[in-house]
Assembly symmetry: C2
Homo-oligomer: 159 residues x 2
């Protein structure tokens, strides 16, 4: 699950008991390109499943046209690792208190979307590729999420 | 393996037969922070193992001091997903011809470090945490690689 845990209150500083926000560095160190857009049925964090279900709905990953050739050969793989940018998540919490557990925990010890680099990793099942659109099962992210990368799942890569 | 496949020739444009470089977009869409540094025995791509070995040498992930609190509770997990930035890799190839196979393939169908967003994902075994240093097995990256994220491996996360 990459979403529901960080459904921070909108009021005040948005911090739950025990949560700690740190100062983010004054500048970033490298830049990422958004390579496409992920389309899912979920419009709010509350609607997102806690984690991707391999039998869940088919979602669409639309790769931007300049990267079309980079898809060559991807259809030979059934399990694909998808990296994406959790664009709605705040980045400054070092300690978080997920609603689900109520236990205050470090951001690196959670898979919450709230983290200094809001990069998610999901492994999905490829159903089909049509042009620059991948149809996949197993995602749990918001509709409109920016795509960062696609790669064959390591477990499925020849040694 | 995240490295040896993209050991492009230094001469000319560095392209092997069949490889195609695209124009990168004029600007990036979001920025990442380097959160620490990974120390391994490997100083060149040629030295890096093809993929991380769970019985390989212990490597050190040194988290930068501002993120110390974010490690709270991470020691409860044995398998940790590490995201890092492959800072030496070119980003503009859409088709690549790995030396190992000689088959020209799309960048998204390879786990090569050469990709528009050079973000790697490895799952490691946590040996110990001392202060802000994690001792882990299973990495395959260059010494000095910038750290992007740490999270419990999904397989190990309670449902």
């Amino acid at each position: 699950m990459e979403h529901a845990e960080a459904d921070h209150a909108a009021a005040g500083d948005g911090l739950r008991p025990g949560e700690v926000a740190g100062a983010l560095p004054p500048h970033t160190d490298a830049g990422v390109y958004f390579l496409g857009t992920i389309h899912t049925p979920w419009r709010t964090r509350g609607e997102c499943p806690r984690r991707g279900d391999p039998d869940g709905p088919i979602c669409a990953i639309v790769v931007a046209e300049p990267w079309r050739a980079a898809l060559t050969g991807l259809d030979a793989h059934r399990r694909i690792q998808v990296l994406y940018w959790m664009h709605r998540a705040r980045r400054d919490l070092v300690l978080q208190t997920p609603l689900r557990t109520g236990a205050t925990t470090g951001s690196f010890a959670l898979r919450s979307p709230v983290r200094p680099n809001p990069i998610a990793s999901s492994v999905v099942t490829l159903v089909a590729i049509e042009g620059t659109t991948l149809h996949v099962r197993g995602l749990d992210c918001l509709d409109g999420t920016p795509l960062l990368d696609l790669k064959p799942d390591r477990g499925a890569t020849p040694a």
